[in-house]
């Protein structure tokens, strides 16, 4: 199999750049910050965690103590070498994805920062309905509500869409190597015994890889959730603080 080309990027520099952009942007948002210092600290930590965990390895240290241990370790090394053609491309694909995901995070922040800069300021005077001349009573309220609603500009719910990443945690951010083996035909029970044996014999090899992937996935998920919060904050925090200040005054 031809292995996919590995994109080389300096992730540490990228992350440091990203953090510095976030910090700079936050202090440039006007009278108030998009996020509090504590929230920013959490975001920075989440991004660091992505960096620390993003490289998946299929070559964990194999050590054997005593004669039996050394023989076992030698057999494991041979097995790993024999299965390298099979496992390593999978791991490399995952690493390529992780790099791409990090690039996507950077792009998201770029795009949102740019868009936020061009947003109009919040309305200065309240734009409160009714935009109708009809007298409202309990009897006609529902029909007037429908009339008013028809003139309300569409709400595109992009913020809600961003939250999908948060809701998806349980479903797509966890990798299993030990899923239930189904029994749909009588022969499946025999096959499953063999599969369970194979799984047990290879768990020293596969389990650390999936554990590594899950650590990375958790970090990636947390990073995405915090970035989503930051992106929303860029748009909504300054006008909200502005409206609050105006109300308090």
């Amino acid at each position: 199999m031809t292995q996919p080309p590995r994109t080389e990027i300096d992730v540490a520099t990228l992350l440091s750049e990203l953090e510095s952009r976030i910090r700079t942007n936050t202090t440039q948002t006007g009278t108030t910050d998009a996020l509090t210092p504590e929230e920013l600290r959490v975001l920075h930590e989440a991004l660091h965690e992505v960096e620390l965990t993003r490289v998946i390895s299929a070559h964990w240290l194999i050590q054997g103590i005593g004669v039996v241990g050394r023989i076992t370790a030698a057999l494991q090394k041979i097995t790993r070498r024999l299965l390298r053609w099979y496992i390593n491309p999978i791991v490399e694909q995952q690493n390529a994805f992780n790099d791409a995901a990090l690039r996507a995070m950077r792009l998201m922040i770029d795009v949102f920062e740019e868009q936020t800069a061009s947003l109009p300021p919040p309305p200065v005077a309240p734009r409160m309905a009714p935009r109708t001349t009809a007298a409202i009573t309990p009897d006609n309220a529902a029909s007037i509500q429908a009339t008013l609603a028809s003139s309300e500009p569409t709400f595109d719910m992009w913020e809600n869409d961003l939250r999908v990443v948060e809701a998806a945690r349980a479903h797509i951010f966890h990798v299993h190597a030990h899923w239930p083996l189904p029994v749909e035909r009588p022969t499946d029970s025999i096959a499953n015994i063999v599969h369970k044996l194979q799984r047990r014999l290879l768990q020293w090899y596969i389990n650390p890889v999936t554990a590594n992937m899950n650590t990375c996935n958790r970090a990636m998920h947390t990073g995405l959730v915090h970035i989503a919060t930051y992106l929303v904050a860029l748009r909504v925090a300054p006008p909200l603080h502005h409206i609050r200040t105006r109300h308090d005054a």
Binding site: P123, M128, P130, I144, T147, S150, E159, I243
Partner: protein, 397 residues
Amino acid sequence: MTPRLTIVSTWYGPDTAGGAEVAARRLAQAIHALGYPIDVWTTTARDAFAPRAPYYPSGPGTDEGITVRRFIVSPELEESTIPAAAAQHPLVQRTLKQLNPPRRELRVLSTLVHSDALLQALVAEAEQRQYIFVPYPLPISVWGGMMVPEQSYLLPCMHDEPYAYHHLSRWQIQHAQKLMANSAQERDFLITTFALPAERVVLSRLGIDLTVIGNGAAFRDTYGITTPMLFFAGRRDVTKNVPLLILYVQEYILRRGRLVTLVLSGRDSIELTSYQRVYVRDVGFLSEQDKADAFAAADVFIHAGTQESFAFVLMESWLQGRPALVNRDCAVTAGAVAEARGGLDFNDFASFAAALDILLEHPDVASSFGEAGRDYVQHHCRWPDVAARVVSAVQGE
């Protein structure tokens, strides 16, 4: 001898939260107040929001004059297995063989709190008792109903949700002696979904305490609320559409340029960002009086959830004379609002914003809705009437 009425609820007690569990406790108290003998069987666990470790002491005890027998919670089951007490029961064995329920149904049930001791007691005392299981989708109700079908009555607290379509739920609903519906919409749903004869589903409704008087000014003073106030009470999660509600309120503020405060009350924790805290106030779990004060303080009570069989909080809000804004996709709350003429409903941001415009800018209209809601509650939510309907349904009196 008339069999003794026994309410069977997985969770029950003064510190127990949850709509169905609160309903079970208030129903027991109302039946007791009418002078009918009633017992409650439950577990030692507190509620769905707490670990299954014992919270209440096991054994017999009393709560507000009612005998409450608490059974210890059994250890967690292995995935997709069923409680030992049920697995050994011939009716359960036969029914499972006929039904052959999908594994996923058993998997869900196996993760929930159960008590083998309670299930065994159901069978041991079946001759002397009539059991009212509350609510339907928990292991004690499912397996208990299967073990003693002839003594099983059900207060299902059901709405249109995935559990309702489980094979086991269908069996349970179709084999209960009678079902008590909390609302006309729930009754219609039960009859049409499970092809039940109308006489098997009694519209018993639920009641609320009609004597509570809220002090809105006190609540606003305590929490320093100086803006128009929107109030939600309940579980603050996606099942009640709370994230969507927060998003809608935020967008409303941004579009109108005017601050309103969304007050959220509930037992579960909720994470808010700093910008959400500009307009959202988390007041946590409120006592009954504080909650009444909050209802009275609110300009609008909002209930965005779609999965309800009754919605106590809607009725409690109306009791304080406040208008409601509910989700049009919830047959029960939208149906109640239409029947009571107690507010407006919404099904997207535009209708949500338009409703708030009307209710916040026209206090006279809002007050009229609130008054109509109060009349509805005072007519429909009297506990003695509810208790009499339940006793009549179960004991034919």
